[in-house]
């Protein structure tokens, strides 16, 4: 949703900025904008109404802080209400002292249960657990086969037989116990909430395995029906939480708000891409920031810490600061970035993205990285160490060798050069002059890292402290101004 909501809020803030006082008509107009944004984002109608009521109460009930303009006041009320509806912080997953901890997944057909089961298993594995998958979807042709293939990819065993779903679930848990696995994930067949027979079956599976967690898997692009589905499953199974899939399809995902609003259970995990890595705990507080266009730098940092080879990265980063950074280092870093997951997913987490960048990001995929790698690999070792020797004829050769164009080679070299200069500035403790959205990105990254108790390079200390002063600005996309050039951003490099 969140693109359209933050966009509308921004426009709203502009139109309300000049007002000294908020009239009832202003408020009604503002709430109308919010209603439109929420409905366009597929938030269910009754959830929208409850949301608007609550915002309006907030606006009327609270004393207007002196420092806030009426526009900011409304936006703050919307933000606070969003945080409340999305629900505080992430759910903590706890484990049964008598293993295995049983996790049951349920949902409609096509919500992504089987893929989610595998992603969840991978997540538990990364937590140092020994997960076990049980496939009880004996209905959809080859569903169990799909689970086995995915299990093979992540190195997790899969149990299934052809008796009946309840028996499979029971036997699967027993088998996990025998094998000493501590987490069992039960995949179930997709079913309609109004299908009494199948709902009774999943209740029997639940009764037979007594799951510690029952998650509803729901598709982020679901429309108004999200509420019916969530409600019916909750009544049948007493959900402990929700897993949202396909959050990468659309920036909207109002189903998150709908389901959460009606069931009152937290969204626990979110899946943001096709790769088995594109899956993590859902952080409502971070989602709220993302809505306000502030990106989700904390998630990005966590993902980096989880996947990157710290030693190699630290070495090349150190060289980067000292100015001895080469194209080889650059390539090594690109490959580290690649390990973090699909680029599209990462982009979504980046703060300070301008509209052009966001649009471009939709089309960035791993092929772009391959192109860059091809260009660098077409250079000689000397060229990689000393890119300044690359003259016209070398450029032409590199372009030919990598199957790209001279323009692309030029672009890359220019970017590399800029980046190098920037990093040297920071290493020297200066506040680097970062162009456009990148400045904001680096700032937020610095702040995020600082919030996690990291010591920052001198240049970044200055940056982070510039941001730390004062509470998060209620203005979407807000942040300290000043380092930006006139007009807000430097023209990004021309599009080919």
């Amino acid at each position: 949703m969140f693109d359209s909501l933050s966009g509308r809020l921004e426009r709203l803030s502009t139109s309300l900025r000049s007002r000294g006082r908020l009239s009832d008509a202003d408020l009604a107009e503002a709430l109308g904008e919010v209603r439109t944004a929420l409905l366009e984002a597929d938030v269910e109608l009754s959830v929208v109404r409850a949301f608007l009521d609550a915002v309006s109460q907030r606006v009327r009930g609270e004393n207007v802080a002196q420092s806030l303009t009426p526009g900011q006041h409304v936006i703050k009320a919307v933000h606070d209400q969003l945080v409340e509806v999305l629900g505080g912080t992430a759910l903590k997953v706890t484990y049964s002292s008598k293993p295995p901890t049983v996790v049951l997944l349920a949902g409609l057909q096509g919500a992504g249960k089987t893929t989610t089961a595998a992603k969840l298993a991978k997540w538990f594995k990364a937590q140092g657990r020994q997960p076990y998958l049980v496939g009880t979807d004996l209905q959809r042709p080859a569903a169990v086969e799909q689970l086995r293939v995915l299990g093979g990819q992540i190195g997790v065993d899969v149990y299934s037989d052809t008796t009946d779903p309840v028996a499979v679930a029971r036997a699967g848990v027993a088998e996990a116990q025998r094998l000493g696995r501590d987490v069992v994930i039960i995949d179930t067949a997709g079913r309609l909430a109004i299908d009494e027979a199948l709902m009774a079956e999943v209740r029997r599976i639940s009764a037979a395995t007594d799951p510690h967690y029952t998650f509803l898997v729901i598709d982020a692009v679901t429309g108004q029906d999200a509420v019916h589905t969530a409600k019916s499953f909750h009544e049948s199974l007493e959900l402990s939480g929700i897993i949202v899939t396909k959050l990468d399809y659309d920036a909207r995902g109002g189903a998150v708000l709908s389901a959460r609003g009606v069931v009152g259970r937290p969204v626990v995990f979110a899946s943001t891409g096709e790769k088995l890595d594109d899956f993590d705990l859902f952080h409502p507080d971070r989602m709220a920031s993302r809505i306000l266009g502030m990106g989700d730098i904390l998630s990005l940092i966590e993902q980096a810490e989880r996947t990157m080879d710290a030693g190699a990265m630290a070495d090349s980063a150190q060289r980067m600061m000292s100015g001895a950074f080469t194209l080889d280092d650059f390539m090594a870093q690109l490959n580290q970035v690649r390990k973090m997951g699909s680029l599209g997913g990462l982009m979504r987490l980046m703060p300070g993205m301008t509209k052009e960048m966001r649009d471009a990001a939709k089309n960035v995929d791993d092929g772009e990285l391959n192109k860059i790698e091809a260009i660098i690999r077409s250079m000689t070792p000397v060229e990689r160490r000393e890119p300044q020797i690359i003259d016209g004829s070398r450029r032409a050769r590199i372009a030919r060798g990598s199957g790209s164009s001279v323009t692309a080679v030029n672009q890359l070299l220019k970017q590399f050069d800029q980046m190098k200069k920037m990093m040297r500035q920071m290493g020297g403790g200066a506040m680097p002059q970062l162009p456009g959205g990148m400045g904001k990105m680096a700032q937020l990254a610095a702040r995020g890292a600082a919030a996690r108790g990291a010591e920052l390079p001198p240049g970044f200390e200055a940056m982070a402290s510039g941001l730390k002063a004062g509470a998060p600005s209620p203005t979407p996309g807000g942040g300290p101004k000043g380092k930006k050039k006139k007009g807000g951003r430097v023209t990004p490099p021309k599009q080919r």
């Binding site: 439109t36 019916h228 980046m350 990291a454």
Partner: protein, 348 residues
Amino acid sequence: MIALWIIVALVVVASIVVLARSRRRRHPRAVLEPERAPMPEVLVTQVAPRPEIDDSPSMDRRLASSRSIFERVRSITSVGSLSQEQLDVVEEVLLRSDVGLATTTALLDELRTKGAPDGVAAAIRSTLLASLTGERSVRTSADEGRVPVWLFVGVNGVGKTTTIGKLAWHETQAGRSVVLAAGDTFRAAAADQLQLWAERTGSDIVRAAEGADPGSVVHDALGRAQARGADLVLADTAGRRANNTNLLDELAKIRRVADREPGQVVETFMVLDATTGQNALSQAREFLAAADVTGIVLTKLDGTARGGIVVAIERELGIPVKFVGIGERAKDLVEFDPASFVDSLLSA
């Protein structure tokens, strides 16, 4: 080449993160912080205590009241012009069916100008029906000497493979010989799923290993169909996001392969899950541009979802719904009937 710019930015951010972390390690603080936040190891003695159920009675009441509003739309009998209150009721019905805000507003405008000479229910019914007048016939034959191909596209999890299975059943029932092309080489076991349908319906199937080029699978299927004199090729494709240019380009390529001699694409169906909200419109727009969609198969209409977004799709993009899925069985995939669809929309 903004992409490059973004990638560089990402590298910078990533290196900042790592750098910050490596510094932290080299200069441990007085209080030793664990390298990583420890896993929450709260051991529970029995079953993890579940949080209290939030009944949210107010929400219940809201849903109940909205239900009674639906009943009221039929009971509004006033003739002639419509009051704001009546329009509000209609708006609510349409919004709840996923028709979408823009289309709902447009429909309400039409309603306002037309008035309601035969009552509101009849007026909104005819307004909706007027939006659903596209050509719904399905082409099963190609030019002389070419093999007709139906190509199936859509996002993940909408039921493409199942739809193909069901249509294969219909077509073989109608006496046509069918070749299935297992073009979803991405999702694990998708080809196995289609294989089972081939066995059930007695159709021929062409498949390749996971990760193979889908275009070559389609190409081989065309060759097989021609060699055996088959009447129709049904080509599956992997589910894909509608907002990724590269995946859409791949789709366009598959379509080109399928449309090359001896094949001819006579229908490109976008399979759409009825529970989908406003995103369906962007899906339709992108798939139309990439693969020249000729019709929509609306699946999973047997649940509580109404699938009203197809009204917006047909109005804005002119893509008609051709089939609807109203149940699990093969024969539950039926031809789309605007009148009964509109009735079910309004009886939500």
